[in-house]
Symmetry: C2
């Protein structure tokens, strides 16, 4: 008996190999197995091809628990299907959007834990269980070679769209970020929600254009070395990070899956804000020192970008994450509240207040174009820098170290030969030459250890920024979608223009924030790098000066 599935939402094929399916239609599946979020099957018109797995529900009469629309059964009753998602390793081969679209965020990834059972351990005990989701993994804006987008739980937007009546031409592409983000819905006036004063987000006109109003109560947050925690009598273990925000100065303990959950909320909540990607999830060796240290550094960078973002830093869900203590009930309450937040997607734009004078949309368009060029170039060149410094680090750990140690060993050999001459006046020299050999061996070690201090941090920073760069095509797409819509419908200028202005203000404010943060981060990181390098060469110099001394000591 062929496997059947019921179509939950309309989907119109956009690429060769895809087929269109309509709500409530029954489709025949060729296989239950998904390929990056797609299923293969035949629609009722006899067309065979691919359609998004999340748009259908597989019919299983014999199974009591039905699969959810992500193809996942409830974690309570059944082990979820694990789809591993790893960003490609071939970063160096591809520029931004030149192959894999918005999913390239260096070693940072996007994921969303949607399990309702907060206390289960599946993300700590199963290998790399993730549902790639959010803006970061949505379809590319720039021409791409792959036609397989990642899955997305877009039920909310689709339900919204279903109940709205289209007055202007609606974008039929359900994968369009403009549609998914809620940008289209907002522009068409379909968004509506109650916005409290505390939820208001101000875009002000700064010296360099629109910008997010500064956080009047800026704070930072430290992340301590994680400790290994166990539960169920040691059967399960996980790493717990101590977070201490400066505005409360109270430490809270969080696990990676908490970060992961928060990340998913933020991506859903803020359509045109570049939420920093979390450091890479790792299937094995989660308790290994190197990985723990690397993840902690990644989380520190992530936290830095969270707390320094005027909008993200102040939002409820992040504050809940930072301040809620060990009280289980309070935590769950905040968690539920965040998950039921109405001001997500399209409604986010309702919270934005803009400067009095609307922007010149042509100027906006040109700015956005310029930024698009910028991000593309920055991504391309970041790849080169990253590849180069990683190679440089490798060379220092291998070749440079080897060369200095070979020289050191050869000097020691010379000293050994000289030691065969036992005359008194020779002894001091022999010792000094042997010491020189040892100094060179030590310098070899210095070279091998140095990259960790001054190259790895640049690499980490570039990874974080490549995450942002991967977010921006979607952000730009939302603004462009709005602008195009406004251009297409000159009649409804008034409200449409206002709403397009809101989207544009938010987008430009986010771009401005990106630039400010970038200049701040790269300045401080390059300074750190140079200071470290200076210290490194001074250490070598000191070692050599000490060695030189030996030639006088024993004369």
């Amino acid at each position: 008996m062929a496997l059947k599935a019921r179509v939950l939402y309309d989907f119109s094929s956009e690429n060769p190999g895809e087929i269109s399916i309509a709500e409530n239609e029954l489709v025949t599946l060729f296989s239950e197995e998904e390929l990056e979020g797609w299923l293969e099957g035949e629609n009722s018109r006899g067309e065979a091809g691919l359609f998004p797995a999340s748009y259908v529900e597989i019919i299983r009469d014999q199974i009591t628990s039905s699969t959810n629309n992500n193809g996942f059964s409830s974690p309570k009753t059944q082990k979820p299907t694990h789809t591993s998602y790893t960003s490609p390793d071939t970063h160096s081969q591809r520029g931004l959007g030149a192959g894999s679209g918005g999913s390239g965020g260096g070693s940072f990834h996007t994921s969303q834990g949607s399990d309702d059972d907060w206390d289960d351990d599946w993300d700590d005990t199963s290998p790399a269980t993730e549902v790639p989701q959010g803006l970061g993994s949505s379809p590319p804006l720039y021409p791409v070679t792959s036609s397989l987008p990642a899955r997305r739980d877009s039920s909310q937007q689709h339900q919204q769209q279903a109940k709205s009546s289209a007055t202007v031409g609606r974008n039929l592409n359900r994968f369009s970020t403009f549609v998914k983000s809620g940008g289209e819905a907002f522009l068409l006036g379909e968004a509506s929600a109650f916005v409290k004063d505390g939820d208001k987000i101000c875009v002000v006109m700064g010296k360099h254009g629109p910008e997010w109003q500064e956080d009047p109560y800026p704070f930072t947050c430290t992340i301590d070395d994680p400790t290994k925690q166990t539960k169920f009598k040691g059967m399960k273990s996980y790493m717990s990070y101590g977070l201490t925000p400066t505005h409360t100065n109270v430490q809270v303990n969080r696990r990676y899956k908490h970060f992961d959950w928060l990340y998913a909320r933020l991506v859903e909540r803020f359509p045109v804000i570049s939420v920093p990607h979390l450091p890479e999830k790792q299937a094995t060796g989660r308790f290994e020192e190197d990985f723990i240290s690397k993840r902690r550094k990644g989380l520190i960078w992530w936290m830095n970008h969270m707390t320094s973002h005027p909008v993200l830093a102040r939002c409820d869900v992040f504050q809940h994450f930072l301040t809620c203590g060990a009280d289980e009930k309070a935590w769950k309450q905040g968690k539920r509240k965040a998950e039921r937040d109405e001001l997500v997607g399209a409604n986010f734009f309702l919270t934005i207040s803009t400067p009095d004078v609307p922007l010149d949309l042509q100027e906006v368009e040109s700015k956005i174009e310029g930024f698009k060029t910028f991000t593309k170039k920055m991504d391309e060149n970041s790849v080169v820098v990253n590849t180069t410094i990683n190679e440089f680090a490798r060379k220092q750990a291998a070749g440079f170290k080897k060369e200095y140690q070979k020289v050191g060993q050869s000097f020691k050999l010379l000293a050994q030969a000289f030691e065969l001459d036992q005359q008194a006046y020779s002894v001091g020299l022999n010792k000094a030459i042997a010491d020189t050999g040892e100094a060179y061996e030590a310098i070899g070690e210095y070279f091998a250890e140095q990259p960790r201090q001054d190259l790895d941090p640049i690499s980490d920073l570039l990874d974080l920024y490549r995450g942002h760069l991967a977010n921006f095509p979607d952000i730009i797409h939302v603004q462009k979608g709005a602008l195009t819509k406004v251009k297409d419908c000159p009649k409804q200028e008034g409200e449409l223009h206002d709403r397009c202005n809101i989207i544009s203000c938010a987008t430009l404010a986010e771009i401005q924030h990106f630039h400010r943060t970038r200049v701040r981060d790269f300045r401080s990181q390059m300074q750190h790098h140079l200071r470290q390098q200076i210290g490194f060469f001074q250490k070598i110099t000191a070692k050599l000066e000490d060695t030189l001394q030996r030639y006088d000591d024993d004369q």
Copy 2:
């Protein structure tokens, strides 16, 4: 008609492939062509094989000018046969005496220009015309794989031997350094010459054993950058070095061939003194800057070892070389005098006065054995050091430079991407990052240029010392030959013992001198190396500090 040659001296074959030939015998040559100083032919007993070319005289009835016993015709009447002699490039593969015997002196070589016509230009206009000769290129003492010794103009010693009557067992091996050096002749009491007081060479008993009496009037000698000279209306050109000894402070001009001539005189004159090898002769590119600079550095080292040797520094021929001005007649007079010097070879030992108490020959033997082990080890390990530092220099000029420049270029690319953002607050950073890129490119250059300052000098020093190390097997052999002879003939104890004591004193004094010079040279060279390295890393540090400044300048 087969080519014939008349045998000038007895030669008894010592290795497979060689044949014995007797004085006045006629041999048939298979070819007129020499292979590293050997000819192939058949003796009167019908044995075919190799014999030394210098032991025979080719019979040419039809040619008016006869070849000399080196197979060379007079340079006046005929272009000489050019035998190129290059030391093997595979130093790293071979230890002292483990393959090519005493001929391995790094890039220093031994040669002797024996042409009587001092003013001809053949050594400047012909490619690498040299007759390898002297102690350095005599047959190996340690087991060797090659059976082809270099040629040697040994007519003088052989003529001496021919007229002497043997009273103790004579060594039949004409290639034995003991025989060639005149050591045997001296030991057997066959040396006789008038020794003026000024020719006396004193060995005194020092703290560490016998040593050469110190030069009461020590001096040094500078060598200026050579200038290119031409003669015959520019048809011939050569390099002229300005030499200024400190004890006269008058500059004299010398050409490489003058050094070459002097070297030959010294080798002949001093059987147990390690005459420093001259820097390599080069066939092509003699006027190229790199070669000129390298040869000059080599000559400076050579001069340093000449002037710091108590015996060599004071000897007549060297003084003539250092002090004779542009007066052609005075020069030729001194030259003839040196070439007619009676106190060469065996007679050299007549000039030596020893400490009152004779040495314990058993102790001498053990010291010599120890030194032999030392030289072998030093040569082996010098090869490793030389190979390693040359490789290190190559890596710095290639790999290290490339890596730093690649990093520099990638930083410049990052700056280029950042420059697409034209906001005012970004400009300073962009410039600073570009400057950082340039700093790294400059550091790459520093790495490439540095070896010339601190590795090449060590390599030059090792080359010079490998020349000495190549001399010592022969020097040791003379002493050992004498010792063996004394042991074999207990009857003639008195005089034989005295003469053996003289040889031993001279040998140990020379070894002592070698050690003193070695400790002095390696101490100062290692110090120089370390100072240069310190300066190098300080230069890098300064560059980076300057670059770091840029990040503050434009903030």
